[in-house]
Amino acid sequence: MSDTVRAWRHIPQRYNLIGSKCAQCGTVFFPSRIICPECRRKGQLEDINLSGKGKIYTYSVITTPTEEFKEIAPYVVAIVQLEEGAKVTTQIVDCNSDDVQIGDEVEMVFRRIREEGNDGVISYGFKFKLKK
């Protein structure tokens, strides 16, 4: 598997939070999809630039990470409910893990995600931080 190609393929989504919206039923998806599961062939998906603003829907603090993320542990992960509707799984950075609560407002920041993948490449993308 080439992590370089994989990371490159998702640059619009990972760098700019481009999702998709079904013109038929209005559902917003992130990551973007080819088919709206509700409308299937009647649906019509268009790109949408998500604002990167949302609220913490749920979270956890990881103290037993994989090798790859050991350096940053303990760290907060969360599912963020974006204001456009879709939910996204992300890290919450620049915070004390005790400060995070369900319902807290958060916004997207652009960060280094992994030191190196299998190819020794550094990948970047979105994380979120508390809006305070």
């Binding site: 994989r6 998702h10 990551p31 829907y57 749920t58 979270y59 956890s60 603090v61 990881i62 103290t63 037993t64 990470p65 994989t66 090798e67 790859e68 993320f69 940053i72 760290y75 992960v77 969360a78 599912i79 879709a86 939910k87 996204v88 799984t89 992300t90 890290q91 893990s97 369900i102 995600i113 992994r114």
Partner: protein
């Protein structure tokens, strides 16, 4: 469609089994089931093996043929079935469908996982989630269930103690199961003070890393008495898919795949939760012991924690859950779990469950989940 019976089952001990290789484990379980059924290996017409990730755990794919070869069963057709931790449940279901359809008469459905040969199994386990949009964000598998737990606590007031009780009960049952990986009692305090893994889940909320295998022999119900005096009949075999990533669900305090598979199973068996005398649920993390009894329908949504606190799921409770010790304490060699659950129900219904025997049980259920609920398999078995 023909009715199907289970005429033989077997399970290896679960645990960190350094002496046993992948092929040793599955061959051992298969032989055990063949002996238990009183048939010859040559009677088998097909094999289905549940296995999540031999590729990542022991760098071996193409395992169905490997197993047929080492068990001396070539040239029978064989296939590996994969649906993360629900691989075993699906192998059982595929065997049942093969017999029910009339395609084969006697088949073996088995499951195996060898997880302790790798130094760090966590990345392999994480592939049961969405690799690109969950795992690559740094999410581990326990943290996904931790996020479900957090939301369940938030919406329904489920407590840390109630989740700990799930583990306490499982470990207590496991002390009566000679095949269990962790047959020791633990207290609520021990669970709540064990090492933090992914807040709010701690080490003793998690199923362990396990090696092990299990197998079951199936045949048409009408032939079952030829082989055994105590056939166990398949009343329902249901399966449902669900979104792979947790963030794509409208609600994460319920596993839709469980709800759908259970509903389908009750329909097939023409039963309701009241007909079930005991159940083996997929408590890969303590919170799932709570979600499962709610989603199957034993209690209302949000009331699972309280029901467990009230003793409903204990061995002598209204609906005994996981007499075997469950994934938590029997162990969770991913692909083997769904078959091990069925084996436990078979032993219980035959009256062969030793110290953990539930008396007068007529009907049992198994509930096997893949990932965070991308797959669910539910089976109902009866005397």
């Amino acid at each position: 469609m023909r009715d199907v019976a289970i005429i033989g089952v077997s399970q290896t001990k679960f645990g960190e089994l350094w002496d046993d290789s992948f092929r040793d484990l599955i061959t051992d379980a298969g032989l055990g089931a063949i002996k238990d059924a009183g048939i010859e290996g040559g009677d088998l017409e097909a094999m289905y093996v549940g296995n999540m990730s031999a590729g990542l755990f022991v760098q071996q794919e193409h395992i169905a043929s490997l197993i047929a070869d080492h068990a001396g069963l070539t040239p029978i057709p064989c296939a590996r079935i994969e649906a993360a931790c629900a691989s075993g449940g699906l192998a059982l279901r595929n065997g049942i469908m093969a017999v029910a359809s009339g395609f084969h008469d006697i088949v073996i459905s088995a499951g195996v996982e060898k997880m302790t040969d790798v130094v760090d199994p966590t990345p392999a386990i994480a592939t049961a989630s969405d690799q690109e949009w969950e795992a690559q964000q740094g999410v581990t598998f326990p943290s996904l269930y931790a996020m479900m737990a957090r939301r369940h606590m938030h919406e329904f007031g489920t407590t840390r103690e109630q989740m700990a009780m799930v583990s306490v009960i499982n470990h207590k049952n496991a002390t009566k199961n000679p095949r269990a990986q962790y047959p020791m009692e633990v207290s609520i305090d021990q669970v709540m003070n064990s090492t933090m893994v992914a807040d709010p889940l701690r080490l003793l909320d998690c199923s362990p890393i396990s090696d092990g295998a299990a197998a079951a022999i199936l045949c048409p119900a009408e032939d079952a008495k030829k082989y055994t005096d105590t056939p166990i009949y398949v009343k329902a075999s249901a399966q449902s898919s669900g979104s792979l990533a947790l963030h794509d669900r409208k609600k994460i305090t319920t596993i839709d795949a469980t709800v759908n598979a259970a509903r389908k199973a009750f329909q097939m068996a023409d039963m309701t939760p009241k007909n079930i005398d005991m159940v083996e649920v997929h408590d890969c993390f303590s919170i799932n012991g709570i979600l499962a009894i709610e989603d199957i329908g034993f209690v209302e949504k949000g009331k699972g924690g309280q029901a467990i606190e009230d003793g409903m799921t204990q061995l002598d409770g209204e609906i005994p859950v996981n007499p075997s010790g469950g994934l938590k304490a029997r162990g969770h060699p991913l692909g083997a779990t769904g078959i091990a659950q069925a084996a436990e129900i078979v032993w219980q219904l035959r009256g062969e469950a030793g110290k953990r025997q539930i008396n007068n049980a007529e009907v049992g259920m198994t509930h096997n989940i893949g990932g965070t609920g991308g797959t669910a398999a539910v089976h109902i078995l009866s005397k």
